[in-house]
């Protein structure tokens, strides 16, 4: 029931969907959205040699994060993540952007070090207006995330 209600709130065209974010760093990027209800750590959840989320039971278990715009409500742990974004970027496995509801400095430091787009805070919950598979544009200077195209 609850899921049905959430889906009804997602507009069909999506042309007007814009999320404002509180803080942001990095270049403007566009990419396929992956929306998670669970938080993320590139150390706890990710196989850094394949780019696939491998934590058992994670809602995105089996999903490859390469070139995706990732939406997570929170960041988990862990200092070791600071090197991880630079590492996966060098391996060609990095996402295009990390969009967090609440993040921590490790993610920010790691993203800045890897020159990866990162944002924190949102004016509306992405799960209410963006689906995994949609194409979105993240503009850190404007502090906006815009839905460009609905996924298939």
């Amino acid at each position: 029931m609850r899921r049905d209600r959430v889906h009804r709130r997602i507009p069909v065209s999506g042309a007007s969907v814009t999320i404002r974010v509180n803080r942001a760093f990095g270049p403007v990027v566009e990419g396929e959205a992956v929306v998670s209800g669970e938080g993320f750590s590139p150390r706890y959840d990710l196989d850094r040699w394949s780019g696939v989320i491998t934590k058992r039971g994670h809602p995105l278990e089996g999903v490859n994060i390469r070139d995706k715009v990732l939406f997570f409500p929170t960041a988990k742990g862990g200092i070791a993540a600071g090197w991880a974004f630079f590492d996966i970027k060098a391996k060609g496995l990095a996402p295009r952007a990390l969009v967090f509801g609440v993040t921590n400095p490790v993610m920010v430091q790691g993203a800045v070090f890897a020159n990866l787009t990162i944002t924190e805070g949102w004016s509306r919950a992405p799960r209410e207006c963006i689906r995994s598979g949609d194409i979105v544009r993240v503009d850190p200077a404007a502090k906006t995330i815009r839905l460009l195209k609905r996924g298939g």
Binding site: T54, R56, I79, A80, F86, D87
Partner: protein
């Protein structure tokens, strides 16, 4: 951000390219968090090993060292991914071990003290109240902020390295009074009796309040906790909740009273931890194949007193055939544990003691797991039960004596 003359000179490259780039990185992070200025730090603790850094991180360090980068303040290193005495026995990659040796060489060339410990606060450096730090490893940061009243944000490897070169950090987060105040209250109605129970409590608090800026205030703790109990509590809060600070009324220095801990503000929420809540954590772990051949005491490394407890529990017993038990600790602790006979008792029982590492960052761990048929990892550390999961372990938290019992009998309970 307001920059002083020294910082402007750094940005002009007057202290060399590595320092310029280090300050640029810190400036971007500071801007992200609306920091107004930089503040000096007196100590840096960084995470840097080949497993977390990868080849790209090694190349980065190599370039820094070759460009003449030097650390301005004392820097120690966190646990790493190799105990070189065990590379062959653990089936680790000799090529990666060689890279790790090069990496250590670069760090030492840059004036880094390679202590290889995640319990620097128990073994190397005890910061004073109000001291500003740039510490990596979340467990060290939450200890410094909460137990010492020192001030640090989570400073990951590249950020800690930058702080080491510039001698400063952007002032945001836990450098500022408003963020250090408690945000919610945890009434402790249970009396945690084991490190695993302190960790279980932290799991409940952390998972339900995941936020870097959430600061729990524990009240009702019935007896003075030991340093190792606070270590497990903090490490697990940081791991499950991404938290960098807690207060414990009557115990930690910024919490003489509940009111002081909250800084006069109303808490955003309250929760209670009962004995039943803690028991539910332990009951919540599943063991699908009933195997229990991998038992770990690590994450954080063991203190000397934990080593003594384990030596007592394993004394005169043998690890069950086919079971691997790993204990990790720091060089200085292991040295003392040998002098005191604790290490010999553990080794006689068949326990593997690894120095300067943490199990969850061991190089080659995923393949090690598969090669040894380890499906479950059993530990008394709530932190490692959380952190090791990317290696596809099913993880189970058990109390210290239960872990020892499982290790010696091969029977899961």
């Amino acid at each position: 951000m307001r920059l002083n003359a020294e910082e402007r000179a750094m940005l002009r490259g007057e202290r060399g390219e590595p320092v310029r780039r280090a300050l640029e990185l810190q400036l971007e992070v500071g801007k992200f968090y609306n920091a107004r200025r930089f503040v000096p730090v007196t100590n840096v603790h960084m995470m840097g090993d080949i497993e977390v850094m990868g080849d790209s991180g090694l190349d980065h360090l190599c370039r820094l060292a070759q460009a003449g980068a030097r650390c301005e303040v004392p820097v120690t290193t966190n646990a790493r991914c190799f105990d070189f005495a065990y590379v062959d026995r653990l089936g680790q990659d000799a090529g990666e071990a060689a890279k790790e040796r090069r990496l250590i060489g670069w760090l030492r060339q840059m004036n880094v003290v390679t202590t290889d410990t995640c319990i620097n606060y128990q073994t190397v450096y005890q910061p004073h109240f109000g001291e500003r730090l740039a510490w990596g490893d979340t467990g060290t940061v939450i200890w410094a902020n909460s137990v010492c009243g020192a001030r640090s944000n989570f400073e990951s490897g590249p950020a800690a390295m930058a702080a080491a070169m510039t001698g400063r950090v952007p002032e945001y987060g836990f450098h500022l009074d408003p963020h250090r105040r408690g945000t919610f209250v945890v009434e402790v109605l249970a009396e945690p009796k084991d490190y695993a129970e302190w960790g279980a409590m932290a799991k409940l608090v952390g998972e339900s309040h995941q936020s870097y800026f959430a600061v729990p205030v524990f009240t009702g703790v019935k007896r003075a906790p030991t340093a190792d109990e606070l270590k497990h509590l903090g490490a697990a809060l940081a791991s499950y909740g991404s938290m960098a600070m807690y207060h414990m009324v009557g115990v930690t220095p910024e919490a003489p009273t509940l009111r002081a801990a909250l800084g006069g503000r109303k808490p955003r929420g309250r929760m209670r931890i009962t004995r039943a809540d803690i028991e539910r954590v332990f009951a919540g772990y599943r063991n699908p194949d009933n195997s229990c051949n991998f038992v770990v005491f690590s994450g954080p490394q063991q203190s000397l007193l934990e080593m003594r407890q384990l030596a007592d529990l394993f004394d005169g017993r043998r690890v069950h055939p086919g079971t691997t038990v790993m204990v990790t600790t720091a060089n200085g602790v292991l040295s003392a544990a040998r002098a005191l006979g604790y290490a010999q008792k553990l080794e006689t029982a068949g326990v593997t003691i690894l120095e300067g590492v943490c199990v969850y960052i061991l190089q080659n761990l995923t393949r090690m797991r598969a090669a040894n048929g380890w499906t479950n990892m059993i530990s008394n550390s709530a932190k490692i039960v959380n952190t090791i999961t990317a290696h596809k372990f099913n993880t189970i938290l058990r109390r210290t004596h239960e872990c020892v019992e499982i290790a010696c009998t091969g029977v899961f309970r």
